[in-house]
C-alpha cells in the first residue's frame, strides 16, 4: 500500500535544492516591465490623464490608460463557467477602470524597458479625478440614497438570498424555550502567500501565452478570452510551481491585463509582477462578515429554532461574491441540523479592496460566529459545552435538504474525545472555575463541518492523461494543480497504488499548460484529492487494463488473468510473475507486428460531495492588564476520512492552524476610515504569524473510510483553519468570563472588552 504512507513529497528535492522554477525564474531577462497605476482615491471617476512627463522617462515604451482598454466587463472568480445565464459570475470590471471603486483600483499601466523606468514613469502620471465620498461599510452602502458603486446594482446589494428549514415562527412558540442572541464580527484578512501575484505574457503566431502564478490555469484561459473577447483557443496559460495561493490565486489577478499589455507592444514579452503592497490591496482578501444570530433552545439542551442574518462586505468588485456568505449561512445550518432554521444573507459592494476566495471559503467566518454563539448559549443556559455540541451536531445519514449533500461518514465524536483528552478538558474546567487575579487560564473548543467539493452548486470535472513510457514508467498529466498543498504527491501515490507501480515509476508532470494538459478546474475548495483523485483512479484503471491487454497478447493469455504488482505482470490469483511492465512497454512501442502507444485519458464527472469534520481544543493564559493571550496547548483533530499521506496531511493541519491562530489573535487589514486607504499593506505592519508566535501544534486524525471518496478520503486542505479562532475565543471566555464577539483578539480590543467588563479599571 502506497496510499496511506508518509512518503516524502515528490517535489521536495527540487524545492530544497533551489531547482524548482517559479514564474519569476522562467521569464526572459529582456522582458519589458509593466507596472500598474492604482488610484489614490476610493470612490470617483477618472476624468483625464497627463502623460507628458511620464513619457519623457527614458525607457518608457508605452502607457495605456482606462480610456484605451476594450469597453468590456468581465468576471474574475475561479468558478467553472456556467452555461446557464442565471448562474454566471458577475462581470463588473474592465482591464483598467475609469470608474474608481477602491483606493488602489487599476487605472493605467506603464510598459518600460526596465523596472526603474516603469516605476519612475508611474510617479509622473498626473490624474484628474471627480471624487465622491468613500463608502466603507456595508451599513453605509445599504443606506437609502447611498450612491451606487456599480450602476447595475443601485442599492449596492450584490446578491441577497434566504432559506428556511422547517417553520421558524411556529417553532419558537414552544413553551419554555431559552432565547439567546448574539452579534459576531470577523475582519478582512490577507492570504499572505509568500510569492506575490504575478505573471508574464508574450505572443506567438497570433496567440497569447501567459505564464502565471495561479491555482486555476484552465479557468484563467477562459477569463482572459472573455476579457479580450477572443476565442479560448487563442490563449495558452502555463502554470509552473507557485509559492502558495490559499484562494487568492483562484481568481484572475494580473493575467487578463498582462495578456492585453503584450498585445499592445506587438507580442513582446511583458512581465507584470505585483509588489507585496499591491498583493495586499489589489488582489483579493477574505470577506469581513457580520452575523446576527438568534437561537431558541430547550432545557434539555437541544435547538428548537435559530436564525441568522449575515452581511458580507464585498469590496469594490464582485469576484466570488455571494458564494462565500451563502456557504457561511449554509454551514450555520449543516453543523447543527436540528430544529427550524432560517438564514438570510447579503453581499454588499463597498469602496474597499475586493474580497474573494480564501481557505475554507466563508466557513472560518461562520465557524467563529456559530461556535462563539454555542458557547454563549451554554453559558447562559448552563449546558455542558461539549455535550450540547454532541447532542446537536450532524450525524451520519444527514442529508441537507437544500444542497442534498449527505453525511456519508463521521468521526467527529471520536475527534472530540481525543481533543478533550489532549487538553485534559474535564479537569481543567473544574480547575479554572472562579479564578481571580491578573493572570487567568481557560480552555475552549470548537467543532466544524466542511463540504469537500462544490457539487451540486458547480460543475465538478477532472481529466487525467497517463502515458506508458518505454521503461515501464508512466507520465501523468493533470489539470489539477500543485500549489504547495502536496497534490502532486498524493496523486502520484494514488496512481502508483491503482496501477500496481512503485512510486518511482510515476512521473507526475507538475506544470499545467492549457495547450496540452487535460481539463480540470484547478485547486480550490478541498476538491482535488476527492474529485481529481477519482479521475486519477479511473485513468489508472484504464491504463492498467490496456497494459494487461497487451501483456495478454504477448503471453497468449486472457488479460483478465493478469494483474500488475510492483511493476510486474502477475497472475491475478497465484501472483506468479510473468513479465515486467518495462518488457511490455518496450514490446508495445517497438513491436513490428502490433506497435501500440499505450496511454489512457479519462474524465471523471463527480456528482457527489461529502463532509469533513473536526475540532480544535485550546488552553490559554490571559494576562488581563497586558491584554494578551498566550496559547498553552492547542490541538486540531480531524476526520478527513482515510489519510492518503500522513506527512503532507500534518503539513496541511499545521499550516491551517497557524493561519487560524493568526485569524483569532492577530491578523486584520486596517483601512483608513476616511480615505479607504489600506494602512498596513506590508509584512511589517500586517501582523502575520512568525515562528515566534507559533506554539507547539498538536494534531490528530480519526480515519473513518468515506464511501464516496476515491480512497476513502475527504477534504483536508482548508478545514484546519476553521475551528481555531472560535476555540481561542471560547478559551478566553472561559478564562475571564468575557465573551469577545469579534476577532482578532488583539490587545486593543481586549482592553476595551476587559474595561467594559470591569476587569481593568
Amino acid at each position: 500500500m502506497i496510499v496511506g504512507k508518509a512518503v516524502n513529497r515528490v517535489d521536495a528535492e527540487a524545492k530544497a535544492s533551489g531547482t524548482a522554477k517559479y514564474v519569476a525564474d522562467l521569464v526572459d531577462r529582456n522582458a519589458l516591465v509593466a507596472k500598474v497605476l492604482h488610484s489614490t482615491i476610493a470612490n470617483g471617476t477618472v476624468l483625464s490623464f497627463d502623460l507628458d512627463e511620464a513619457y519623457k522617462v527614458p525607457g518608457v515604451v508605452k502607457i495605456v490608460t482606462c480610456f484605451d482598454v476594450p469597453d468590456k466587463q468581465f468576471p474574475t472568480p475561479g468558478h467553472p463557467w456556467s452555461t446557464h445565464k442565471a448562474h454566471q459570475d458577475i462581470s463588473d470590471r474592465k482591464l483598467l477602470n475609469t470608474r474608481v471603486r477602491f483606493y488602489g483600483d487599476d487605472i493605467a499601466a506603464v510598459i518600460a524597458e526596465d523596472e526603474i523606468a516603469a516605476t519612475r514613469a508611474l510617479k509622473l502620471i498626473k490624474v484628474e479625478y471627480e471624487e465622491y465620498e468613500p463608502i466603507l461599510t456595508y451599513e453605509d452602502a445599504m443606506k437609502d440614497g447611498a450612491m451606487a458603486i456599480h450602476e447595475e446594482k443601485p442599492n449596492n446589494v450584490v446578491v441577497h438570498s434566504d432559506y428556511e428549514m422547517g417553520n421558524f415562527d411556529e417553532a419558537i412558540k414552544e413553551e419554555g424555550l431559552i432565547k439567546v442572541e448574539g452579534t459576531y464580527e470577523t475582519p478582512i484578512v490577507s492570504h499572505c502567500h509568500i510569492e506575490n501575484a504575478g505573471s508574464y505574457a508574450y505572443m506567438e503566431s497570433g496567440r497569447i501565452i501567459v505564464v502565471s502564478s495561479t491555482q486555476i490555469p484552465h479557468i484563467i484561459r477562459r477569463v482572459i478570452s472573455q476579457a479580450l473577447d477572443c476565442g479560448m483557443g487563442k490563449i495558452r496559460v502555463i502554470k509552473p510551481y507557485i509559492g502558495g495561493g490559499f484562494g487568492n490565486k483562484q481568481d484572475a489577478l494580473t493575467e487578463p491585463l498582462n495578456a492585453f499589455l503584450t498585445s499592445v507592444v506587438g507580442g513582446r514579452c511583458v512581465k507584470l509582477f505585483y509588489t507585496r503592497e499591491e498583493t495586499f490591496v489589489c488582489t483579493r482578501t477574505r470577506h469581513a462578515m457580520k452575523f446576527f444570530i438568534e437561537s431558541y433552545v430547550r432545557k434539555d439542551g437541544t435547538f428548537a429554532a435559530r436564525k441568522i442574518k449575515a452581511y458580507s462586505t464585498q469590496g469594490a468588485y464582485a469576484s466570488h461574491a455571494h458564494a462565500l456568505v451563502a456557504n457561511a449561512v449554509n454551514g450555520f445550518r449543516m453543523m447543527y441540523p436540528v430544529g427550524a432554521i432560517k438564514g438570510d444573507a447579503y453581499t454588499v459592494y463597498t469602496n474597499l479592496p475586493t474580497a474573494g476566495a480564501m481557505r475554507a471559503y466563508g466557513i472560518p467566518q461562520i465557524g467563529f460566529a456559530l461556535e462563539a454563539h454555542v458557547d454563549d448559549i451554554c453559558q447562559k443556559a448552563g449546558f455542558d459545552k461539549v455535550q450540547f455540541r454532541r447532542d446537536n451536531m450532524m450525524q451520519v445519514g444527514f442529508v441537507d435538504p437544500f444542497t442534498t449533500i449527505a453525511c456519508h461518514s463521521s468521526g467527529l465524536d471520536e475527534c472530540i474525545t481525543r481533543g478533550k483528552e489532549y487538553v485534559n478538558w474535564d479537569q481543567k474546567i473544574e480547575e479554572y472555575k472562579n479564578q481571580t487575579g491578573d493572570i487567568r487560564r481557560g480552555v475552549g473548543m470548537a467543532v466544524f463541518c466542511y463540504k469537500t467539493g462544490v457539487y451540486p452548486i458547480a460543475l465538478e470535472t477532472s481529466a487525467v492523461r497517463m502515458v506508458l513510457n518505454q521503461d515501464g514508467s508512466t507520465q501523468v498529466q493533470m489539470g489539477a494543480t500543485e500549489i504547495g498543498q502536496g497534490a502532486d504527491t498524493v496523486f502520484s501515490q494514488m496512481a502508483a497504488e491503482t496501477l500496481g507501480f512503485t512510486l518511482d515509476k510515476v512521473n507526475l508532470i507538475s506544470t499545467q499548460d492549457t495547450d496540452v494538459t487535460p481539463y480540470d478546474t484547478g485547486a480550490y475548495a478541498s476538491r482535488q484529492t476527492y474529485v481529481s483523485g477519482m479521475a486519477v483512479k479511473k485513468t489508472a484503471l484504464s491504463l492498467k487494463k490496456k497494459i494487461c491487454e497487451f501483456a495478454g497478447y504477448m503471453l497468449n493469455r486472457d488479460p483478465s488473468d493478469l494483474d500488475i504488482e510492483d511493476n510486474n505482470i502477475v497472475h491475478v490469483g497465484t501472483r506468479e510473475k510473468y513479465l515486467t511492465t518495462e518488457e511490455v512497454a518496450m514490446e508495445a512501442c517497438y513491436s513490428l507486428e502490433n506497435s501500440n502507444h499505450i496511454s489512457a485519458e479519462e474524465t471523471h464527472h463527480c456528482s457527489d460531495n461529502t463532509y469533513a469534520l473536526g475540532c480544535c481544543f485550546a488552553e490559554v493564559e490571559v494576562d488581563i492588564p497586558m491584554c494578551s493571550v498566550k496559547i498553552l496547548k492547542i490541538i486540531n483533530v480531524h476526520d478527513s476520512g482515510k489519510i492518503i499521506n500522513p506527512q503532507t496531511a500534518r503539513g496541511q493541519v499545521h499550516g491551517g492552524m497557524s493561519m487560524g491562530i493568526g485569524y483569532g489573535l492577530y491578523e486584520r487589514l486596517i483601512i483608513d476610515p476616511k480615505t479607504g486607504k489600506t494602512n498596513n499593506d506590508n509584512l511589517l505592519d500586517y501582523k502575520l504569524m512568525t515562528v515566534l508566535d507559533t506554539p507547539d501544534l498538536g494534531y490528530d486524525f480519526v480515519e473513518p473510510e468515506d464511501p464516496s471518496g476515491p480512497y476513502g478520503n475527504k477534504a483536508l486542505g482548508e478545514p484546519p483553519v476553521i475551528p481555531v479562532a472560535p476555540a481561542l475565543r471560547n478559551a478566553v471566555y472561559n478564562a475571564t468570563g468575557v465573551a469577545v464577539n469579534a476577532i482578532p483578539l488583539h490587545p486593543q480590543r481586549l482592553f476595551e472588552e476587559f474595561s467594559k467588563a470591569g476587569l481593568i479599571k
Partner: protein, 163 residues
Amino acid sequence: MKKQLVTCTINGKVRENYIDPRASLSDLLRGEEHLHSIKHGCDVGECGACTVVIDGETYNSCIYMAIWAEGKNITTLEGLSTLDGTISDIQQAFIDEGAIQCGFCTPGFIMSSLPIIESDEEFTRDEIKKQVSGNFCRCTGYDTIVTAIEKTHNKRKAERAKK
C-alpha cells in the same frame, strides 16, 4: 547609469559582474548569476525569502546593495549541493521532516539556519525560533522547519564531537 565592476566569491568561485550601482545583491545573484533559489516576497527586508550568507552572516539580499559585495564571500542555496547534485544534510532534513510545502520560503529558511547548524553552541527550540524569526512561511506553521533545523544541528554537533 554607468555599470560598475563587482568582484566577489559566489559559492566558492570568484565572479566578476558589471552591475548597475542601484541594483541589489539579489538582482546580481538572480539576474547575472541565474541563482534562482533566491526568492522575493517583499523586496524590502521583511520576509527573508532572499536570505543569503555573506562572510558567515545571514542577510536579506534584496536590501543589500550589489556593490557592497565587493570582495565578499557569498553562499546561496545552490552552493550547498555538491557538484554531482547531492544535497546537504539540512536540505535532506527539510525534505524528511515535511518542512517544505510551496517551497517559496524554503531557500531562505535553509540559509538562515546555516549559522545555527554550523555552531557548536547549544540551541533550544525557542532559541532556534528566535534565530530564524526573520523568515516568514505561510504554509507549514513552522513546526517542521524548526524540527529539521534542530535535528541537523544535533547531528552535526555529534559528528564534530566524533572527529
